[in-house]
């Protein structure tokens, strides 16, 4: 019985396929014979013997196979490293290209992984939801909650484990060396339990802490603890004074993404004087809290939405005058995870796509470099083939080389992205509080390894295929003068077209973003930010507890500031433009329009400013007058409206002289002027309808000082703060910055995104340009003989130059054409990133074509010139 005919032998042969090809071809037939003999003997000792033999055989092969594969890889790797050392130019170029391609991907992936893929760092993070009240007809999509509303939703829902509230306040903390303004999160006692946050030191809040009259307690955020107390654990138990009350520190929170805001300290709701005031608790429309819930384990977000909508319907029934029918009142639930990442998602995905494109170009380029190198390695490969190296063996060797290149490139790329990590974190922080979770961790390493493997497959396939063809040719031609076949020419050309096309796409993307950003920067914001200093002053409201005291403080401060010779104007405003604050919207009554029951009043953003505000910010007075010193308490209350309000609320009619009321018609405020629109909430957003009130008539407990200077504004900051201390030594100022800085920060996200995409596009352009240049150089060196003949029969150098240039440019042109089509299809995906620029903006397309064309000409010119200088005699003699 021949061994190959039995089923056992067939099975054994199949098993042998687990071993490396070389091993198999060396020992396979012999192993089959031995197994056949073993099998024959085992059969004689019965079925147990056969089973035992199979068990030993299979486990033996499984033990041997990985070892042999590894040994083979080690051997191939040694050979590959030798080849790499022999061609340092190629090796450097390939590694650098791959490092850039893989590094870009690792870097962006580290962000995507931390921000979009990882679960939230909160226990049961997938069950946490954000609850928003909406009144779309009034333009309110995220209306805060009042105390009563929180209570109603908490007690009437059936889908939540817990519902907690949050709001942010600014308090002055006394008890350290200087009075300090601290960002304070005011939360339900079980807020941290719901988020599953364990304290680092001490404890979090307990139910007893939120009882009315309970001793006031504080939790410190990790950052504040490190910054202000140097991480001293004995801070727990220490007392500080806030709002004229003694507060005891009970614990420190762990490092974690703070949401919704970065706070210094946290207190329970009863400790906040505003939140616990009777007026706040009793008024259903005094809204300042945000609400979060944790779903019951078996409840999905849709069920919760339906459940909370039912509560909303109950409220509408119970309070028809508050939730009026024309508001279209509703409640919305959003998964916290989505809420935390929705701003970041589109940007991150676009960047990931851009990085992927860069890698694609890098792969195409390395594949081309490899192909070019194959020309020089033909003889080596032919010899190896002649010595019996099988096709599989050669493939394996070439892939090992590609893999090593990708691995070294990937390692270098990882270093590059690690170097840029801090930049990326600060970039991502513009979009999401999860930015602090960005690290180079195991997932990023694994991703990089996977990318390296894919890269080696992508960049190694073409050369391996070409090698097969070339070896076949070489052998046919007896190892003589063979060149890579026309098939591989086509592959090389195709790779160039791919590089140019993808570069074109990236350049278009970057160009559009850049144009958008430039437009955004030059947008008329309605105010001038040059030479304006701003700072936030929140008064200690226990000390400044009357309107007179508040008014007196700011008047005194403004007087002192105004007296400085570096200062042109100084003013106080509730909030200056672009400072990222939430709208403060209020409804009002127009004297000439009677109230319709069941209908809401007109809404506008309400602001309070001192007389010089419009002048300090160069906001034009379009009609009527600005506020004056005469607009005092006791005089006729006055207001100024902006142009948008005139258009939308007064139907374009001149409102000067008309009267409005904020308190249902008890007190009437006369409109005395119309000012220009200001982009309050972002340069890319429209102006809101605004009504300004006079500071002297509507004093503020907290305001921003804006100072127009005649010198560089930050240079007078120290002086102004000293003036502030002269007025009240216990009064800190916060967020001291120039308005220019504020404006620049407001477009930082667009700027950084445009910069990153631009960087990727430049990388792509550089790689593609060297790619075209490299291929044309190879073509020239391969066609030296032909060029020599042409010149010998009378072709002029200029013609040769034109010929080579023409060939290179033809490839670039085809690539650009493909890229153009791709861009027309893909660029609408960028629509939401663009500002006043169309996705098919002809100027950008033309500009990119010019840049790409120039790069291609420069890249082709060098080899073309070399071709035109070929000495026909030398070229022909070389044959």
């Amino acid at each position: 019985m021949k061994p190959e005919s039995t089923r056992a032998s067939r099975l054994y042969r199949a098993l042998l396929r687990l071993l490396p090809f070389d091993f198999r071809s060396d020992f396979g037939p012999e192993m089959e014979t031995v197994f056949h003999e073993q099998n024959a003997e085992a059969k004689r000792s019965g079925p147990t013997g056969v089973l035992k033999l199979w068990w030993e055989t299979i486990s033996g092969i499984f033990r041997t196979a990985p070892r042999e594969h590894l040994a083979m890889f080690a051997q191939d790797a040694r050979f590959a490293l030798r080849m790499m050392r022999k061609n340092p130019g190629f090796t450097m170029a390939a590694i650098l290209t791959l490092a850039l391609g893989i590094g870009a991907n690792s870097a962006i992936f580290s962000v995507v992984n931390a921000v979009l893929l990882k679960p939230l760092p909160y226990r049961h993070g997938d069950r946490l939801i954000v609850i928003q009240q909406q009144a779309p007809r009034a333009g309110l999509l995220d209306q805060p909650f009042s105390v009563q509303e929180i209570e109603d939703y908490r007690h009437q829902n059936h889908s939540l484990d817990s519902l907690v509230e949050y709001h942010n306040m600014n308090f002055i903390l006394l008890g350290r060396s200087e009075p300090e303004r601290v960002e304070t999160g005011v939360v339900s006692w079980n807020f941290f339990d719901v988020f599953g946050i364990q304290p680092l030191v001490g404890r979090t809040f307990r139910a007893g802490d939120e009882q009315p009259g309970a001793p006031a307690v504080l939790l410190l955020s990790y950052e504040y603890w490190i910054r202000s107390f140097g991480g001293d654990p004995t801070v727990v138990g220490k007392t500080f004074t806030m709002n004229d009350k003694i507060h005891t520190v009970v614990g420190v929170l762990p490092p974690m993404p703070q949401y919704p805001d970065e706070n210094d300290v946290y207190m329970p709701t009863t400790a906040c004087p505003f939140r616990s005031s009777p007026a706040m608790i009793e008024d259903r429309t005094s809204r300042m809290m945000r609400a979060f819930g944790r779903l019951k384990p078996e409840v999905g977000i849709r069920q919760a939405q339906a459940d909370l909508s039912a509560v909303a319907a109950n409220l509408q029934k119970a309070y028809p005058n508050i939730y009026t029918s024309n508001l279209d009142y509703s409640v919305k639930t959003i998964a916290l995870r989505d809420e935390l990442t929705q701003n970041a998602r589109p940007t991150m995905l676009v960047l990931l796509a851009a990085a992927g494109f860069v890698l694609l170009i890098a792969c195409a380029n390395v594949a081309n470099l490899n192909l070019a190198r194959m020309v020089r390695r033909e003889r080596e490969l032919a010899v190896r083939a002649a010595m019996g190296a099988g096709r599989v063996r050669m493939f394996r060797q070439l892939f090992t080389e590609s893999f090593l290149l990708a691995l070294i490139g990937g390692g270098l790329g990882l270093l590059l992205s690690w170097g840029g990590l801090n930049l990326l974190v600060s970039f991502a922080a513009r979009f999401t509080p999860r930015a602090r979770e960005i690290h180079m961790d195991g997932a990023v390493l694994l991703f990089t390894l996977a990318v390296a493997v894919i890269t080696s497959l992508l960049s190694g396939t073409a050369p391996a295929m070409a090698a097969r063809e070339s070896v076949a040719n070489s052998l046919k031609e007896g190892g003589g003068h063979a060149t890579l076949g026309c098939g591989s020419h086509r592959v090389r050309n195709l790779l160039i077209v791919v590089q140019v096309a993808v570069s074109f796409l990236l350049l278009i993307g970057a160009g559009l973003m850049l144009r958008s950003f430039i437009k955004l920067q030059h947008v008329d914001a309605g105010f001038q930010s040059e030479n304006v200093l701003t700072m936030r002053i929140g008064l200690n409201f226990t000390k400044y507890n009357t309107r007179d005291r508040q008014r007196a403080f700011f008047e005194q401060l403004l007087e002192k500031i105004q007296a400085q010779q570096e200062v042109k104007n100084a003013a106080v405003t509730m909030v200056f433009p672009l400072n990222g604050s939430q709208p403060m919207t209020g409804d009002f009554m127009m004297e000439e329009q009677p109230m319709v029951p069941g209908h809401s009043l007109p809404l506008a953003d309400l602001r309070v400013v001192s007389p010089d505000y419009f002048e300090a910010l160069h906001i034009p007075i379009l009609h009527g007058r600005a506020f004056t010193r005469g607009d005092r308490s006791g005089a006729q209350d006055v207001a100024i409206v902006n142009r948008s309000a005139v258009q939308h609320l007064w139907g374009g009619e001149d409102p000067v002289g008309k009267r409005i009321s904020l308190d249902g018609g008890h007190a009437w405020v006369q409109i005395v002027g119309v000012v220009g629109d200001v982009k309050q909430y972002g340069l890319n957003r429209g102006a809101a309808d605004e009504i300004y009130f006079a500071l002297a008539q509507t004093p503020l407990a907290s305001g921003d000082v804006v100072i127009k200077t005649v010198v560089e504004p930050m240079s007078v900051a120290r002086k102004i703060i000293e003036l502030l201390y002269e007025v009240d030594p216990n009064q800190p100022a916060a967020r001291v910055q120039s308005l220019e800085q504020v404006r620049s920060d407001s477009v930082a996200a667009s700027r950084l995104t445009a910069n990153l995409i631009g960087l990727f596009a430049l990388l792509a352009l550089a790689i593609a340009a060297t790619g075209i240049g490299g291929v044309m150089a190879l073509v020239v060196s391969q066609r030296k003989h032909e060029i020599g003949v042409r010149m010998a029969i009378g072709a002029k150098p200029a013609e040769i130059l034109r010929m080579v240039l023409g060939q290179g440019m033809a490839l670039a042109l085809v690539g650009a054409g493909v890229g153009l089509l791709g861009a027309l299809v893909l660029m609408h995906l960028l629509q939401k990133f663009l500002f006043e620029v169309e996705p098919n903006d002809p100027l950008t397309f033309a500009g990119v074509a010019l840049v790409l064309g120039t790069a291609a000409v420069v890249a082709c010119y060098i080899p073309a010139r070399r071709a035109s200088r070929v000495d026909p005699m030398v070229a022909l003699r070389a044959e």
Binding site: L19, F23, D26, F27, P29, E30, M31, E32, T33, V34, F35, E37, Q38, E56, T57, S59, G60, I61, F62, R63, T64, A65, R67, E68
Partner: protein, 122 residues
């Protein structure tokens, strides 16, 4: 492949399976199946090599120059084209001897510590 030239003691310690293969070949030139049988016999069936393990070892021994393929095939009738015989080289002898000596030293220690009851003769 040229056998690497390093001193024989630097090849040890060998794996038990490798040592058994060398011991088997120290008696006579053998083909694969005969090596398996010999090892099986010498160890009373305690060491059973599978084909995968055996040829993994043979590959290494060939690469290290401890064994060679015997050029002239014996004119046995059952011998077919696939069957190759292996012969221990002088380096293979030295390495096997060095390993045996090393084990002997270990055994001497074991005896001195009364871990071995009686002296066995090979």
């Amino acid at each position: 492949m040229t056998p690497p030239s390093k001193p024989s003691h630097e090849y040890g310690p060998l794996t038990p399976a490798m040592f058994h293969v060398l011991l088997a070949l120290a008696g006579d030139d053998l083909h694969g199946y005969a090596i398996l049988k010999e090892v099986d016999l010498r160890t009373n069936g305690k060491v059973r090599l599978s084909t995968g393990t055996l040829y993994g070892i043979i590959k290494r021994l060939l690469a290290d120059g401890l064994v060679v393929e015997r050029r002239a095939r014996p004119a046995e009738t059952q011998d077919d084209q696939r069957r190759r015989c292996y012969r221990l080289t002088s380096l293979g002898h030295q390495v096997a001897a060095a390993e045996a000596e090393r084990m002997d030293e270990v055994l001497a220690v074991a005896r001195a510590r009364n871990l071995l009851k009686k002296t066995r003769t090979a």
